[in-house]
């Protein structure tokens, strides 16, 4: 193949752009990694260029060894992690089941009040969620549900249904109706059409919402900080290290804790990236 002058210039320019891009991407990430391995409690000790010879595992050890009270079996971090994992799993199951059902109803049936419900769902999303927190806090206190992980999960579920309904509905609309009709002619009930035909075809979009639902609780801060003060989720727990005015200010421990949680999330996200484009284009209408 013959390269001409213009191609060589373009080759250099495009690669240069990518290299600059990647440098910008990696500088803060490397600094974060380097900070997590730096002993001590202040940022001033973090070397500008990572130097693995000076690294220590002090911050990581802290995560897996520090226990707030003596009767704990596992460290605070592991306990908080487990709690958040429970919320994430329950959230995933409930969100996937409920929003698939609602999405199916809205994509397949014409019923009275349909437009009204759709508009209400849209509208409810517009209201700042943490305003609802005052009310949730009051309600949960009355019912003794403060610090209850399951109750928190249901709040997440309620919040996630509207958006996911639109996503699922958008996807299921593109599944031809002729499939339903053919099945109905063969005597399939509504339930059978849903479980045997539409749901199996909608697995990709359900994968997408499942991943989103699983990810959400790990990094939600505001809601658990208010209604789970004694039973923190991971984001709340980590943020305590980040508040410069608090006595718990330990930015380097934060970096270590953040890496431990960010790495698995990153791996899942990377693996799921094909669904992202999928989910977006399915939810968005060509209109």
């Amino acid at each position: 193949m013959k390269y001409n002058y213009k191609d060589i210039i373009m080759w250099i320019i495009t690669h240069l752009i990518l290299l600059i891009n990647i440098t910008i991407v990696f500088i803060p990430i490397l600094w974060m990694v380097s900070a997590s391995f730096t002993p001590g409690d202040t940022l001033t000790g973090v070397p500008l260029f990572p130097n693995p010879r000076l690294w220590s595992l002090e911050n990581y050890k802290y995560l897996f060894e520090y226990k707030g009270t003596t009767d704990q079996i596992v460290s605070d971090y592991v306990q908080v992690f487990g709690n958040t994992l429970y919320i994430a799993i329950l959230n995933t199951i409930l969100v996937v089941v409920l929003s698939s059902l609602v999405g199916f109803a809205f994509s397949r049936y014409k019923f009275r009040g349909r437009k009204g419900i759709l508009l209400t769902l849209m509208g409810l999303q517009m209201f700042p969620t943490f305003m609802a927190m005052i009310a949730l806090f009051m309600m949960f206190r009355q019912l003794g549900l403060i610090n209850n992980s399951t109750a928190l999960t249901f709040v997440y579920v309620a919040g996630a249904i509207p958006y996911n309904t639109f996503i699922v509905r958008g996807f299921m609309r593109n599944i031809p109706k002729s499939l339903d009709e053919a099945a109905a002619i063969d005597g399939a009930s509504n339930l059978q059409i849903m479980t045997k035909i539409i749901i199996p075809l909608a697995v990709p979009i359900m994968g997408f919402i499942a991943v989103n639902a699983f990810m959400a609780p790990w990094m939600d801060y505001i809601l658990p900080s208010v209604i789970m003060p004694q039973n923190p989720t991971l984001a709340v727990w980590l943020f305590r290290f980040m508040n410069p005015t608090a006595s718990t200010y330990k930015p380097l421990k934060f970096m270590a804790g953040a890496i431990v949680i960010a790495v698995p999330i990153m791996i899942v996200q990377m693996y799921m990236q094909k669904y992202v484009v999928y989910g977006l284009t399915a939810g968005a209408d060509k209109g």
Binding site: T42, L98, L119, M122, F130, A135, G283
Partner: protein, 521 residues
């Protein structure tokens, strides 16, 4: 409108005249839920309705203290002369007391004398001697009202059902059996059935809190109100008048809204075009191993935003943050400062390191950082999206363009660009609305800082401690008003929330109204 309702009533009246027996059956359902269905020989309907009916009554009676009323009112604790009796407050059950509480928000507080007794904070035995807690009353009221509405709807539906079924039986003599009914319900009402679980969750955990918060905008509720010692009152639209439309508050509100809109626009546009650019570069024919490059570039997207934001807060920290350390080590701190000052981002007169988000004179700098960090976080997502869309452009379009002798710039201008933009318009709109309420991008990065110079802040705002920072957007300001400052002005926060709600709501409805396919099945 009225004419239509009038004619409906007229035809209903005529219909009733024709079927007096059906009317009598419907009347039974009017008084006792399920009684009409029982008369229609549809026990499978009558039974659950009857159970529901009795459950409602048991809940109301069981949560009440009606049976103490006669003895106390005419014996031990009679109403004093000139005193008003709050019957439902004293004896009502879940529904009646709830609705009473919602309308009044309580009447009696600690130290009041009522029926010859003095009101305490809490009396376990004679509950009406406890002081009213307005905020709990409001919550219970919302819940009671909502459940009451649901019951009324069921009640109306079952009256209608009793009437229609009776008419049908009268005309045809056929009573629908359980099996037929089951099949019909599963065919015709399947959509409702599968929506019910989600509807219940949303009703209690979204709608109730929403109504509650919405109503708080019309009260004088702040954390200064000591529960039991004071009552919260309905104040109508007063909050809107005192805060929203009063000169100095309006001015600050305008500033915050202005920055919110600029931020939302800038944040959405920059990530979109940079993401587009990245996609074009990485997909260009000069790049080999596209997949490897892409994986490296989308890292910021894969890292949870909350973590990235907090790391960036550290990067721009004045105590050993990466940004300042880099500038010092490269020996260009002073040059960087004069550069930032020259382009108008920095006004800091302070020596030493750059105070990225804590010097009141550095407001524009904090805003620029927010947008740049948002770009770091957000552009990979759009790169990913646009790479995906580039793959959907039919190759035949480019082939045709090649035959016509189009240059690569022309191909981009007339094929790629319009195609991608058209496919991504809905995503751009959602991104805008998302950024409009992107609390985290502000709160975790700059926490709204820097503050305004103290002499620029109106007196009333300083006293209430509700001053926004220079980089606060509306939502993060609301958070400060409601939770972070003393006194927590829940009512004011709620007023501003309603404004966001209306603004974003109108924006979305306007956009949706243009997307025809949204409304089609």
């Amino acid at each position: 409108m009225f004419k239509r309702i009038g004619s409906k009533f007229k035809s209903l009246y005529k219909d009733i005249k024709k079927h007096p027996k059906a009317f009598r059956i419907a009347l039974r359902s009017f008084f006792v839920m399920g009684w009409g269905q029982f008369k229609n020989k549809q026990k499978y309907k009558a039974l659950p309705l009857l159970i529901l009916f009795f459950v409602i009554i048991i809940v109301e009676i069981g949560t009440s203290t009606y049976w103490f009323a006669p003895g106390e009112l005419f014996g031990e604790y009679p109403v004093q002369a000139g005193e008003k009796l709050y019957f439902f407050r004293d004896y009502g059950g879940f529904f009646t007391a709830g609705i009473w509480g919602m309308f009044t928000l309580g009447r009696l507080i600690l130290g009041d004398t009522y029926r010859g007794e003095s009101i305490k904070i809490f009396d376990k035995v004679i509950t009406w001697k406890s002081a009213d807690n307005s905020i709990v009353l409001l919550g219970e009221g919302v819940l009671a009202l909502l459940l009451f509405t649901v019951i009324v709807v069921i009640w109306i539906l079952q009256i209608r059902d009793a009437y229609k079924e009776a008419k049908k039986i009268e005309e045809t003599g056929i009573v629908e059996t359980w099996d037929q009914f089951k099949k019909r319900i599963f065919d015709e009402f399947f959509a409702y059935i599968i929506v019910i679980p989600a509807a219940i969750v949303i009703l209690f955990l979204t709608l109730v809190p929403f109504l509650y918060s919405f109503l708080i905008a019309f009260t004088n509720y702040t954390s200064k109100i000591s529960i039991g010692g004071e009552l919260i009152k309905w104040v109508g639209f007063k909050n809107f008048g005192t805060y929203l439309f009063r000169g100095e508050w309006l001015e600050f509100f305008g500033r915050v809204v202005g920055w919110t809109v600029i931020y939302a626009l800038m944040a959405s546009i920059t990530v979109y075009f940079v993401g587009f650019f990245q996609a074009m570069v990485v997909e260009s024919k000069y790049i080999k191993h596209k997949k490897v490059w892409r994986v490296l570039m989308i890292l910021p997207w894969a890292i949870p935003a909350l973590i990235s934001l907090m790391v960036f807060r550290n990067v721009f920290s004045e105590n050993g943050g990466l940004a300042n350390e880099l500038l010092i080590n490269l020996n260009i701190l002073e040059q960087a400062k004069s550069f930032l000052a020259a382009i108008g981002l920095m006004g800091q007169t302070h020596d030493g390191v750059i105070l990225w988000y804590s010097d009141p004179l550095n407001g524009p700098l904090a805003k620029a950082i927010i947008i740049l960090v948002n770009l770091w976080l957000g552009s990979p997502y759009f790169m990913l999206l646009i790479v995906g869309i580039l793959g959907t452009i039919p190759a035949s379009l480019y082939e045709a363009a090649d035959i016509d002798g189009a240059s690569s710039l022309q191909k981009f201008r007339f094929i790629t660009f319009p195609w991608v933009v058209r496919a991504t318009i809905p995503v751009i709109i959602t991104t805008f609305t998302f950024n409009f309420n992107n609390f985290g991008a502000i709160y975790f990065l700059t926490a709204g800082g820097p503050g305004y110079p103290i002499d620029k802040v109106p007196e009333t705002m300083r006293i209430t401690g509700s001053t926004p920072g220079q980089s606060d957007i509306l939502i993060s300001w609301i958070y400060k008003i409601a939770f972070a400052n003393d006194p927590e002005r829940y009512n004011l926060a709620s007023v501003y929330s309603i404004i966001i709600f209306v603004f974003i709501g109108l924006f979305t409805i306007y956009n949706l109204s243009r997307v025809r396919s949204f409304w089609e099945d």
